[in-house]
Symmetry: C2
Subunit: 491 residues, 2 copies
Amino acid sequence: MAKGLPKRGDDHSAWYNELVKKADLAENSAVRGCMVIKPYGYAIWEKMQQTLDKMFKDTGHSNAYFPLLIPKSYLSKEADHVDGFAKECAVVTHYRLKNAEDGSGVVVDPEAKLDEELIVRPTSETVIWSTYKNWIQSYRDLPLLVNQWANVMRWEMRTRLFLRTSEFLWQEGHTAHATEREAIAETKQMLEVYADFAENFMGVPVVKGVKTANERFAGAVDTFCIEAMMQDGKALQAGTSHFLGQNFAKAFDVKFSDKDNKLEHVWGTSWGVSTRLMGALIMAHSDDEGLVLPPKLAPIQVVIVPIYKGEDQLEAIAEKIKPIQKELQKLGVSVKFDDRDSLRPGFKFADWELKGVPVRIAMGQRDLENGTVEIARRDTKEKNTYQLDGIVETVQQLLEDIQENIFKKALDYRDTHITKADTFDEFKDLLENKGGFISAHWDGTTETEEKIKELTKATIRCIPLNNEQEEGKCIYTGNPSTQRVLFAKAY
Amino acid sequence: MAKGLPKRGDDHSAWYNELVKKADLAENSAVRGCMVIKPYGYAIWEKMQQTLDKMFKDTGHSNAYFPLLIPKSYLSKEADHVDGFAKECAVVTHYRLKNAEDGSGVVVDPEAKLDEELIVRPTSETVIWSTYKNWIQSYRDLPLLVNQWANVMRWEMRTRLFLRTSEFLWQEGHTAHATEREAIAETKQMLEVYADFAENFMGVPVVKGVKTANERFAGAVDTFCIEAMMQDGKALQAGTSHFLGQNFAKAFDVKFSDKDNKLEHVWGTSWGVSTRLMGALIMAHSDDEGLVLPPKLAPIQVVIVPIYKGEDQLEAIAEKIKPIQKELQKLGVSVKFDDRDSLRPGFKFADWELKGVPVRIAMGQRDLENGTVEIARRDTKEKNTYQLDGIVETVQQLLEDIQENIFKKALDYRDTHITKADTFDEFKDLLENKGGFISAHWDGTTETEEKIKELTKATIRCIPLNNEQEEGKCIYTGNPSTQRVLFAKAY
């Protein structure tokens, strides 16, 4: 472990970048904008995947796999879709290299040019709906509830580890339904699944809402989202669920015969979360010492550090503590016994703090004599000495408490950082000096939305679900408005 | 379910292709050579993944993720490697599309040309070893035991679903070690893991062996493999484990300081299995009625088909059988209750046979009166009537028996299809009229190996591990030989 994490308060951005690297989560690769997810970071992502995958299956979805490469012409079939993605596509034009004549390596073989260029999927609506055309004939084939875990690519000019990378990992659900009502219900159901996951596993409170037309997914009728707030008061869009209407069904001519044998276009949804969630998880909870992980997603939930001189003492400690490790493991708790010989306890403590392990158990000579251990929790940094008797229950309870406390702390922060603004000056002042979400009236036009963004860098994060209706005046134009929306600067 | 699977005996190739499609495993996509893995097929692959992933973790490996795209120049750093892969690379040359001036769609934007072309990974040794250079400094960083689940791409001219596709899913392990001995031990350990998985989960017996120089992985010192035999007597390479020596460490300058502070190049291995295993699974066991799946990898292990007229009878059957379904599910058995209303029992029977469900339970009016069910096993097609009492134990036992029987049947076939040949005529006759593996003397030269391939299409599948040493003469050249090797026509 290398020391020297910048302080959050001094430079939030540098703190995040260094934390991602020092905690062994990810690093930049030689390919511009593409990251390497390191084993410790990937272990967290795997826990996210497993949890989400079970939630998708519990709601009736199956996984499948569709091609990485998409014929260029497919993109153009849905007008908004191509406008949204064409500007950031990695394009495959050839299928072979050959040796350079000057012996300097390999060059593209001009004879191996593709008839039609292929793009690396930025999202898979087009290739999936072109497939659904053959899978759907009758109402009996519906609903079709499919999810895919995959890598996608969007050629971003400015990238940051996890938050915005050219290649990222994600899941994308793509469903087809017989009725509009069913498709909307699915869109909202998956939004609830994402919110449940964010709050109850990641410990990150979210606002559920709908995007403005300007921020909608390219090709959707409506985009629902969950918006989280980071510790610097900026917003992070953590997941989106799109009601696609019949847009892709029409673009790819996907029809079904209903019970009366009438041909109708199918209704669609798509929804996704990505390795961006890793960024949200890191920024929502971590501190100047390193990561703070919620127990439900921590690859190592408990670390045991023996404090010893010589083999005999280590063995005496191990004899006491190993049965407890085993018992915890039997209960599904992941426990690491850190007996690395070349490192001092203080170094190990700092290392596991950096890595965000929720519970640390230390046992030394005095503990051995007293039948005790010292337990430190990562979130509050509280340390207490406990009798070995009943230690398993203590640890289980602590893990639950930490999970709850992490969420509560983030919720408190979030709730004290949603502020109403009634004038544009107030709005700018809040943005500048407090941050967070600003709840303000807006006249409903894209023009005003973009003007506010240009002047303040704040965007409309969402119109919250079940939003209170209230007469008011747009903070920028003064035009009449019927509800407040949430603005924020965002990742 | 559509009927009309071709008979295996008439046209093995057509039988396989139709089976893959009719059993809803996979289909061709609009992108040449790239497949869509359908939900039922993907569910089998997921079971394979979960099982293998646990085996990798139990042997100390962690997962990570490396970039999809590889700078063209990386390929050239290892001379054999570039020769092996350059001819089948998908090449990304641009990063943006723009609207065509004639409004016909999108075209590649010539201004968005990459300085250096990127290739879609055909395998990840180069990008991973370029990363390992930064991860490895000291002997304390070793061994580095990493695996990646990913998609890869090799631009194949002739493709077949699962067996050879341009894009496929796989896992690739990449490990680094301080000593040659350790790296070889790792290579062999992973070969054993693959053999264990093939035999004890897929029910497919394999020969473990080493490849000839000619069939070696591009960049390896030695390639170990497991070779399976399909029901048409052809071989299928089901997994490979490569000892890379210091080849990639030298190509990417990866050195570590040993305990004496001396700088040494690292020793490497890589090993992989892919969605090709799906092809092996299908071809090893299935019959003219459809798939035969080993219980350990079947997404649905037991299907219950009620035979009823009207709602009352269905309810009476459900009342008897649902508690049994629940009890089995509690024990980890996946059970489907097929009460689809619009389909006749005979159709359902055929459908689940096609899908390879190991155990089918049927219950009708007479069973209801007698407190019995009819159980059919997919592998032997035996049907028997059982009392409901003790039915859970009966089903569990049956699943074990089926797993064992499937393996035994494949093993018997395999063992009766390994035949010795001592002359080239005998060799050709066996290949033509019996198939399977032919055990024959070979003079050890690539020239002879290629000549035999040219004349017979048979290749050397492997030199079995712990091969018996025996004086003999090469079947083709008559030159002296010290051991027999296994030849076969292969997928």
